[in-house]
């Protein structure tokens, strides 16, 4: 079943046989969006951030304040300037970027199609906003649990600023739900894209990238990636409770299904007692986060079975501290390398060793949460990220979307750079 959810500035929610009409419809808004000034668009997005944070706080959850901060005008001005080689006004006209002979203008690529994963729907919103502020119209292929996404996008209609009307903005977005077996419409969507943005795990990304596309289409792939944490003895000694709370948040946000969710914590210490004390502290924090901030959503039977199996395996190989039910699990062992992810708040604590697989080529690594003495941090991060890893955020903020993400400035990839002589 394929459904048209939002099209031509209206909430639709009806079954369709083809997505073609919505693609034709969205093209009509391209020129209007191109004519808007970037500062006016950023004003509008600033209001969107405030509106979503006020009206969808419960639905967005722990990321709510981050959404507001990320969409704030000053923040996006800065991020756009950095991504667009120093001057966001390149989106409006030709600007001087320092070349002695050339002027530069960033033109939108056209239609941006977003395949948003159900496990991280709120992260997908960030690529949609990045498309808007680079003046691209968007068609969003929503996941099956699309309610929040549809509510957020349709709310744009009710947000007006002095220069921009929400109803005009909403016409720049189409939202469709395409059943995974409906290959015909997946192909139509992919063929019409000037930018394909894909969020998801290995299987999802593989099937999206296998769809036909125009040779000039730009692919922005967010996932599949693996994330982990490195902390040292000094950090644990100085701020064990605080660190544990931050890590518990990183593990529990998105129930560990995001690319930026950590699955392994490497502890730089030779003292097993430190690892043991830290694991106990982390367990308490996991319990508190589940109880107070992020109650666990019921898992599938298959996932429950997987958690039970992992727990039993490591009861034999190491030590397992867990909730009485299946809400969270802390696994301590002396195994080397990255733990196989179980997801669903199962976190492994392992000693850091220099000869571990961390120091081997691995382009699948995304976030490396770091709590290391500053004297050592930059050298260590340089050594590790030579082999893999896209960002080294502070603990507690691993799943906060940022630019660059997955090692690339998405907004730069969403524009074509035009030059003319001075």
């Amino acid at each position: 079943m394929t459904k048209l959810l939002i099209s031509n500035g209206e909430l639709v929610n009806s079954e369709i046989t083809s997505v073609e009409e919505s693609i034709i419809s969205i093209k009509t808004s391209r020129e209007w969006l191109h004519a808007q000034k970037i500062d006016d668009i950023l004003d509008y997005v600033d209001n969107v951030g405030k509106n979503w944070s006020d009206n969808f706080q419960n639905e967005i959850g722990i990321n709510s304040s981050h959404v507001k901060n990320f969409l704030s005008k000053s923040h996006l001005e800065n991020k756009l300037d950095i991504a667009l080689h120093g001057n966001r006004h390149s989106l409006d006209s030709f600007v001087d970027l320092g070349d002695p002979k050339l002027l530069f203008h960033a033109q939108p690529r056209g239609i941006s199609c977003h395949w948003i994963a159900g496990n991280v729907d709120i992260l997908g919103i960030f690529s949609v906003i990045q498309s808007l502020i680079t003046k691209n119209v968007s068609i969003i292929k929503a996941p099956s649990n699309y309610n929040l996404l549809v509510n957020l996008i349709s709310s744009l209609k009710d947000i007006d600023t002095e220069k921009i009307s929400g109803s005009d903005i909403l016409k720049c977005f189409g939202v469709v739900y395409i059943n995974k077996d409906d290959e015909k419409n997946q192909r139509i969507l992919s063929n019409s894209a000037d930018i394909r943005v894909a969020w998801g795990g290995h299987d999802a990304i593989k099937s999206i990238t296998a769809l036909p596309k125009n040779p000039f289409t730009e692919d922005i792939i967010y996932g599949p990636k693996y994330s982990y944490i490195i902390i040292d003895e000094e950090s644990i000694k100085n701020q064990m409770t605080e660190l544990s709370q931050k890590i518990a948040l990183d593990v529990s946000t998105f129930d560990q299904y995001a690319c930026s969710s950590p699955h392994t914590i490497f502890v730089k210490t030779k003292d097993e007692k430190i690892i043991s004390e830290f694991s106990d502290s982390l367990s308490k924090a996991m319990e508190n986060v589940e109880r107070i901030l992020l109650p666990k959503v019921k898992e599938t039977e298959d996932k429950s079975k997987e958690i039970i199996s992992t727990r039993s395996e490591y009861e034999i190989k190491g030590k397992v501290i867990s909730s009485k039910n299946l809400s969270w699990t802390v696994i301590v062992s002396n195994e080397e390398g990255f733990a196989q992810p179980t997801f669903s708040r199962v976190i492994h604590v392992r000693p850091y060793t220099d000869n571990s697989v961390i120091l081997k080529d691995n382009k699948k690594i995304q976030s490396i949460g770091i709590a290391i003495n500053d004297k050592e941090r930059f050298d260590l991060v340089d050594r590790i990220t030579f082999f893999g890893g896209d960002r080294c955020p502070p603990l507690g903020k691993m799943s906060f979307f940022d630019s660059p993400w997955d090692g690339m400035f998405g907004m730069d990839r969403m524009v074509r750079w035009i030059t003319t002589y001075k």
């Binding site: 795990g201 599949p224 990636k225 039977e301 298959d302 039970i308 039993s312 009861e315 397992v320």
Partner: protein, 358 residues
Amino acid sequence: MKSHIETLLELDPYSLSQKEKNKIFHNAMNESIKFHYEKSDEFRKICDNRNFSPGKEFLVQDIPFLPVSLFKTFQLRSVPESEIIKTVYSSATTSNSPSTIFLDQITSKRQTKALVSIMKDFLINKKNFLIIDQKSDLGNSREVKSRESAIRGFFPFMESIKFGLDSKLKLDISQFKKLNEKNYCIMGFTWLLYTIILENENNNDVKEFFKNIENPIIIHIGGWKKLSDKKVNKEEFNEKVSEFFNCKKENIIDIYGMTEQLGTIYPDCSEGNKHVSTYSEVFIRNTDTLEIENIGVSGFIQLVSPIPQSYPGISLLSDDIGKILGVDDCSCGRKGKYFRFEKRTEKADIKGCGDTID
């Protein structure tokens, strides 16, 4: 003095009420758990991690369970390797690696005793067995697949034995010509039986053979995983079997059990319920909280039995979902708990982004 486990195995499988069974069963489990705690490092580590001490008072439901998947990742033994007489491998339907179960003389004898006592309650006389499978080596090989092992378990009930399939798992009609009319039990693995029926349901020659056999009993084992994948339910299966083999539906016995706890099997009674014998216990656990569920509520099926001595498989959490239907009050007259198997847990579709690490 006889051990509590041996005493338990002397009892009739279905004549004790749940209350009468509880004390005797607890004593047997107490004996079993102390043995495995001492002999199996892996089992002891699991008990210790869950703060379970066999030296303290406990309820049977408190005994730490091992997920059956553990037998795929570890070679679990509670006796020296020299005492192992057979190694049984599961059919590995849900993963690529099979479970490995090590049997010593004591365990093997206990399993046979339990299986014979249970099946005597369902098959009163010896039968001529027609096995819907290929002929396999049922000798004294040290390594046994679970299908062979299940067939072996029924030896004591076999007046004669014939195999109905050739080496390519196709019906071998030449075997059928030697059948006489009476006292037949047709036995097969659920998915294989169904496949053979589908392949031959329009074969009048075969159907003619079965018309001449007087009311056979059909025993099928091995689980519903493959048929569930094809969306075939039990009613549909029974309909096909009854028509093809010309038998009454109440004579179709679906046997639930697992390689990781051979011997303690759970055949359907005439009411379609699976009864828990004196030799084992079944609990249903909530798939989220792992708490014991009440009668009528579905969850993971946990199987407890003191029979295994050579490996610590005395309390297992299966991959199966089922529910207890009642205790001591089934219309068939058997005492104790009775339950229904509902399904094997499905493989989840949604995977996180981190599913990329090799």
